[in-house]
Point group: C2
Chain length 341, copies 2
């Protein structure tokens, strides 16, 4: 049976939400896997006592230290060896767990994952991607979204190759399509790094590793023409956070406009409530909860990172994502493809 | 009287929209300035004949060549000396016009403006900014939006300084506030270029040249906490184009959802029409037409560039923008501030 280590202390709503999501995942899946929940006993055990966990494949493990959102990643990893984050990753390293899941400090998790688990042979830099809404059916991921600044062309190409493997084996996309985010569509656009990346992506396509659609621009992302958007971490992080702010921004414009229509008796309250609820629903594609979290691609092990705001539903979906990554042997496929270079 | 040279051939809807916008600007302003309209006589004069321009300060000038959207900027500038673009800029250089306005090929206009007019002394790289919607009252500009790739810290700082001067003298903002777009708010975040830029922006603040609010993230842009968002051209260009695609994206989700409410008789047609119109209005802040165009900051002269899709209203507003730039002596202020370095 697969074993997944879960960081009870990670996230704005930890440990309550993490415990809830973990119990939900085990119940909903019919105990399909086992979970080791790691955290401070004084904080976790009293909450855990509220659940009937008899019969669930759930084990608690005490870790006295906690990595917080304010901890500096490189420092936290070394200074807090007894944290749920570092202990959980060591369980993976020792093969006592098959994957690790956390909604805590992303930078610290990246640093700790690299430090404890290392990189898959051939990987220059592990990366992190995100989900994006799209008009057409399918899936859009953007990579990198903040783990890597100052990317070189060979880094960007590996991100595309790793995410192609992830989408093909774990997301059920038969033919992932890669686009290079640039200031124009034509070949030869952009900085020297982008021009060189374009050539390397074309080479990777010739070797059968990816399908490359060429350059794309910011207004192409939501159209869903490509399933993989490749860019530097600063660009991806900015687009991701900008996108996340749009529902709130439009909501702040929508609400008074709607109230105005009701106050002026142009619209009755029932229609207003109905339309408001429909409006809210439009932003469901922007909902990060649905996917829960993402794996660090290129790490020699499975370390799934979630949004700090993760709810119990998000935690549950992160646990399923971990199970999926293990079963589909994504890392073995990455090792195979990158070793050919 | 001020004289503004207008490129009749620039833009997707040229020359018709350009002629219309020019005539509107002269009529609406009561002939406050004079315009030299430049383009191919065979295309412009027949359309111009449809207007009663007697009494308007409008003069037509023939230019046999046209720079198209497909022309490679550096090549077009040298190969098409007889184009409306190059001729218009030469009118400025020769002081026969005080400003030049075009909605044509942005890259070519930037190259030609630099080539013909040169840089204001002290300017390392001219730049181009854009307008962004915001929740709070006020103005948000983002710089650079595609003219400069691979920016060095000293370039980014000058962009902030030049846009501060523009906002202070031409946009009526008493205290422009600069934010540096980064992956996190804390000092010390991001690439080496960003870390160094942060320090130089702090120095510029100490010298009284700007007000610096520190690092900001993608989700801060729409909040309107800063009036100037500083970033590399790739980041700015991507955010700008991504933002422009949002109304269409949400419209594509809204329309069928609304039709569904009507078809299922939950909402009557009148309420649906009313709400749809309100929804459309939400995106007014994303309307580029309102501002018309922007000046290239740092060029030793006034060259206003507009969106290729510019309507006659946008052209009209670009002409007003040109007048404003001349009257407020923005370039003289830039020369003064940058010469202190």
């Amino acid at each position: 049976m697969l074993t997944i280590a879960v960081d009870a202390m990670g996230g704005d709503n930890a440990p309550a939400c993490v415990i809830e999501g973990t119990v939900q995942a085990l119940r909903e899946s019919g105990n399909r896997f086992s979970v080791i929940l790691i955290g401070q006993s004084g904080k976790v055990e009293p909450l855990l006592a509220d659940y009937d966990i008899s019969g669930l494949n759930l084990r608690f493990m005490h870790a006295p230290e906690v990595v917080t959102m304010d901890d500096v990643p490189a420092v936290a990893v070394k200074a807090k060896q007894e944290s749920s984050l570092v202990r959980g990753l060591h369980l993976c390293k020792a093969k006592e767990a098959d994957a690790f899941v956390s909604a805590g400090n992303t930078g610290a998790q990246m640093a700790a994952s690299l430090f404890v688990l290392g990189r898959i042979p051939g990987v220059l830099r592990p990366t992190i991607y995100a989900y994006f809404p799209r008009i057409q059916e399918g899936l859009t991921n953007i990579v990198d979204v903040g783990a890597n600044m100052d990317c070189k062309p060979e880094h960007l190409v590996q991100f595309a190759e790793m995410l192609t493997i992830y989408q093909r084996y774990a997301a059920g996309i038969q033919n992932p399509i890669v686009g290079l985010l640039n200031i124009g569509e034509e070949e030869g656009k952009g900085s020297e790094v982008l021009k060189q990346t374009w050539k390397l992506l074309r080479n990777a396509e010739e070797k059968g590793k990816i399908t490359f659609a060429g350059n794309m621009e910011g207004h192409d992302i939501l159209k869903g023409k490509v399933s993989i958007v490749v860019c530097d971490g600063l660009v991806g992080n900015t687009i991701l956070k900008f996108g996340e702010s749009i529902p709130e921004f439009l909501g702040a414009l929508f609400k008074p406009a709607m109230q105005q229509l009701v106050a002026s008796r142009q619209l009755d309250q029932k229609s207003a409530t109905l339309t408001s609820s429909m409006f809210k629903g439009l932003f469901e594609p922007f909902d990060v909860e649905k996917f829960g979290g993402v794996p660090f691609l290129g790490v020699d092990g499975i370390s799934i990172v979630g949004h700090g705001r993760s709810s119990s539903k998000a935690i549950k979906n992160m646990i399923y994502m971990a199970e999926h990554m293990i079963e589909r042997k994504v890392n073995a496929h990455i090792a195979e493809v990158l070793s050919e270079e």
